[in-house]
Assembly symmetry: D2
Homo-oligomer: 419 residues x 4
């Protein structure tokens, strides 16, 4: 973890992040904060409290003299998976807690924020800076989960209310034919280098050998995915991985998440409500299983995370020139017109398993539970989505989910071997 | 179903019942209306809407000219199990619905109440009277479920908040030794007779032959149940039914619901918060499995529902002289001093399966789904609890639950054979 | 338990019973002894060993001086559910045991039989006589389970081999219209009285009051059941109990067990192989759920076990004049022409829950686990089937199974109220 | 797939392979052929029939004129997972089939073998040669599964019979300290090259970049694993991957498969019966989860499959000089004295997910289901075990299993980064 900022900048960064989280929740009604419709989705009030607990537990509790926890039971209720930090409320039961209520949780946030600001006034050690940066990044990750969890909570309701009436979803332009950006075989650098924050899973920076390959210039569109569906894609077993075929059959999956066929026309639930499917817009909310079957059907394949990163490094000097959608009030992937869209449109499934890089080092203690212990049975996604905070849109960033999950804004970019 | 009231009295009865339901919810916070911690418990806002749907669907929709449903999707969302009334939202997913919110549901109630009052102004047919009476009784049943579901929702929270700070739970007196009221062998009447409302499952009134038996003069106390626990009751397999022993082991049950051992002293969650166990008060929140194991341990047995009803008929001329606890602001079973307490203290498990009486007739159509289809795999409870509305405390009343359930106010009264 | 026989007769009875069990297994091939296709079905070699263990454990081990168990592990492997007798091999894993092999198990039987005959040579106490009688009856119960388990094991194989080529299944005559035998209201005797063996669940003999009712003069035929099926019986929810409807839907039940529709014609697997359905023969292999739905469809109901016993007492002086099918080499219910068929054709579902009779007394110790602990969540069947040993065809006999089970030879006899 | 042999050699190879399979089953008793104690284990008779079906279905049925299948139902019963070949008997129900019996299955084998030999007499096309080679290799894979499934079937029986009394398990020598073979960073070749058979998953041969690393000169011993256990390895959460910790807790795993603590001394079930644990012998029957936790505890890590293959290429010129244990009658991993043991001792877990190599091409049609569709959620193992046929011990060979499985002969070789 490389840390180069200073305390007052960090305090500002902290305050901005905390504000942004609450801004995301502002359109919610009290009831929306409580539900946990599936185990993967957490109630918004849990996110609000858990991100706060992180600062209380890892910084205030340990480093601020005389700090008194806001409430003795909150550490138990709002720890997510840090076994080192003691017993915790089991994940599938997060939706059972009606108390503490939304109001107490906002009080908890206020209490911790005030103490944090006070604590940071006099500067802090490098060690605390590191933890603070992790805490901020952690909260930003939860901002994205908040958006996708809110989408799931509202999208489970038969009337499909808009999350916020001010959201606009522009119509996408015709993206044109699929073309491929070619990279020659060779040894390429992978992983985070330079200044600024990164997660431990982006390290160590290292080298990989890649054979010649091409990466698609854009994401697959909903129109293209519809062709796959019309061709019976969901019922042709030979297109699917064995586990994918079991998943399809056990869950009776025959179309993408949030899609609804109304009188013969496909619609999808968006954060702006139910809308007709825009065939030019990028496909999203697919599992890796669906992405892989689509690739198979198209006679192509998903890229590895190394191919993805290599192409992206070539095409984007940095991630900073990318306006991400959250900031522009567009909470839906929409345009698919250039490689440029590799950052901040949809998360892009790769066919790489989430495993440690060479010379990966897990941090000691509870913070070491952040990433390393999840390096099994998950697949890597790259690029960031329309719901990803700007700060998390990074060429070396490795997101990871189980291959059957699809409530994130996940999409499909294809690759091919070049002989 | 015997109906003898008239329209204006019924309208008043309707309005009182509707008010009472809202009064029960008054102490809740918005969040408390949403959760469904186990499948048997429904969110309070679901109860509020479902009981309202009943009047809309069975009366207004069918009998009031020009009636427009409040919302086209509510019939789908708030039907509980009336398959005849069309598709319905699946029970285990009731806690996923954050919308409609609490406010809309109160608007729904207001809308239906106003239309009902308008509709009833000009009187109604016997047929509608029958449906209205069922609707009122149905809502009263849900009033009790509301109380027990609220208890479960609040009691799952590690801090155990009081439902309402005004609740008082008086300390019970020493109930004295257990004595038995003896009934001689003979043919006895069973079931509802006379004027007023009853459910179809209380009919037909009929006769049974009983052998000589004795019924305990009072409920088993918490102190007596503690003796069973101290004697290793939960680990002596021979005391338990085979299915009960499986239930014990699969769920690792070693003490009653809502009990917590704090530094060696047993406490229980009550609607007034966490309290030390009162050893003189009646045992409650036990499954039939626990009640039966206790009886076995005591060398006695549970009564049949026919023995229970026969003793009760003898000892209570009617149910009307019984102040029930809801009306007195006591929401916990407490006194165990006389046979008198057969009505309105705890539901009393009987060892009778819930099966139809001779010449039982299921009502035609959807209303016929009210009781008959549940007559399998459930056991009968008698007497009413501290949370039962006065109107549901009736000597012939048959409540029924699966033998492993214990979130209702359920208790133990013993019986014995007299040779 | 009433015991009136003497030791030498009992020894002969013992030897006959043991022989009969092995005769049932004679047509099997070694492989057939091993499988456990569903948890309710036990491998034949398990039955052979378990019935033997019963005599070793309850008699030889306890009463024969110097007796050495055949093998120290067999008590662990072949105990079924007697928790008092120590740890046991879990039921769902019975099919995993390939050792001890069939040969060792027959050696085990021989060893125990020889010791039993030696032990009985000098007579025995009343106490041992009682245990011996239970052991013999226990083995006879397992003879019936052996037949039905063998049927399930062979009937799961896509080629449907005959159990024994010598089995003949005569074609049934037209049974004529359904008529009803009427009993007037009154107090009737129930339960076992007189000399000979009975189970504790048939006691105490007692009285019940019955209202006027009629019991069908014969079982429902397959032709009649087909009418129900053709009328959409399996898809009309209002015909089914709530738990039954769940069972139908979860298991996708749309026709009876062992039925196969081959090119539009219904066939059924019998112990003589796959045969066209004989529409005049009694319906069998239905769950109580199906029997109850059929009754509902027919506008009638199932009898209670008390109505059944009362009619049967009137119509059969005793059970002894009934040739049962096992002895006649017919292993399929076939004729349905007279009330006479109440004994030994199919087990007849009643709508009575399996609960203790008044003044029921559980035997002390492990033998007390025989019946009493199963008195919950099961329904009573009466009459005996074509696979029931003669000795178990008794007017007061109470068989019991969960309402969803149908691998026994279970059938439907209807009843009705007479006003 | 590269094919260089000719028809008469292949016919001989075919016959040898078929004989070897039956030799493996020779010590079994009829009952042992039937059971399926867990879903991953198949009954031996299923293996015998399934491998035969492969030749019938893919070669005789398609290429031999006038060939009549041995039995019309066998294709349905003995297809494993080739969805393209039509409906199939579901895997978890393989243990339910008692028919066809062992004898018919040996007749099936004989029938197919005779037809195959007749068919091969006149030579065959390259296409058939390719299928034949796959069929032979497929059967050899099942030979190993047969050994491990037989071990599981016999090892589930409380008496732990020896599979074959002639098996000898020599005592291992002290393996000496763990040392590391160092490879420098660089680009290395991976995958199958040259003549002879390989699976499609070993292709395309390609290059990888490796950073400097060391690979242990030997497997971890049972003594070393016991140190981990004595240090509380199974209860220290921070040593385990998140999914591993869940697996540990759900399955209450506290020691390796087949281990039994008898009066304080660890024993393990081997194919020669129950034996005291030999602390010098290589650890085996561990899941990847256990292997990874051990590595973590030791401050090291598992190798990637690329590191493993690179070291192995350096240290073994070829695999052919390795006597594998099956041929020497030793069915247990024993010696751990040199890098030499990388081939044919235990399968060695790598920390590489089972994913396609660059330019991997799935074969068209049903044969394409052989490998490709399993490339998800599984981990790669390398090297072959004591139960692996000689022909499957190949430096480029990729075996794969789910990370929680441990009924194969799986062991632990460690690696480390060299800075």
């Amino acid at each position: 973890m490389i840390v180069t900022t200073n305390a007052s900048l960090l305090a500002e960064h902290f305050a901005d992040t905390r504000n942004q989280t609450e801004k995301i929740c502002a359109p919610l009604r009290t009831e929306d904060y409580v539900a946990q419709p599936i185990v993967d989705v957490s109630p918004p009030k849990w996110h609000l409290a858990h991100t706060t607990w992180f600062f209380e537990e890892f910084i205030l509790h340990k480093y601020m003299k005389g700090y008194k926890p806001f409430h003795p039971e909150y550490a138990f209720l709002f720890n997510s998976y840090y076994i080192s930090m003691g017993e915790r409320w089991q994940r599938p039961m997060r939706g059972n807690l009606t108390r503490p209520g939304v109001e107490e949780i906002y009080q908890f946030r206020k209490y911790v924020d005030e103490h944090m600001m006070e604590f940071l006034e006099n500067g802090c050690s490098k060690e605390v800076e590191g933890l603070l940066l992790i805490g901020i990044n952690h909260e930003q990750q939860h901002q994205e989960l908040l958006m996708t969890d809110i989408k799931y909570i509202l999208g489970s309701y038969p009337l499909f209310p808009a999350y916020d009436d001010s959201i606009r979803i522009p119509k996408a332009d015709d993206p044109g034919e699929l073309r491929f950006d070619i990279s020659d075989e060779g040894v390429y650098p992978i992983g985070f280098e330079g200044e600024g924050f990164c997660y431990d899973n982006e390290l160590a920076a290292h080298q990989v050998f890649l054979h010649k390959f091409g990466l698609a210039n854009r994401l697959i569109t909903k129109g293209e995915y519809l062709d796959f569906m019309r061709d019976g894609g969901y019922s042709q077993h030979h297109l699917w991985l064995s586990d994918a075929w079991d998943w399809i059959n056990e869950n009776e999956v025959t179309f993408p998440l949030y899609w609804h066929n109304i009188d013969g026309a496909w619609h999808e639930y968006t954060l702006a409500g139910l809308k007709p499917v825009d065939e030019n817009a990028p496909m999203t909310h697919v599992s890796l299983y669906e992405a892989d079957a689509y690739a198979h059907w198209a006679g192509l394949r998903l890229p590895t995370e190394f191919e993805w990163e290599t192409s992206c490094r070539k095409l984007h000097k940095s991630a900073t020139n990318q306006d991400n959608f959250v900031d522009r009030g567009i909470l839906h992937p929409y345009q698919t017109s250039q490689l440029h869209d590799m950052l901040g449109n949809t998360w892009e499934w790769t066919n790489s398993a989430y495993l440690p890089y060479p010379r990966y080092k897990k941090a000691p203690g509870a913070i070491g539970e952040y990433n390393g212990k999840f390096m099994m049975n998950q697949m890597v996604l790259r690029g960031g989505s329309c719901a990803t905070p700007q700060n998390h849109i990074r060429i070396s960033y490795r997101n990871f989910f189980h291959p059957y999950l699809r409530w994130q804004f996940t999409g499909i970019r294809l690759a091919k071997d070049i002989e």
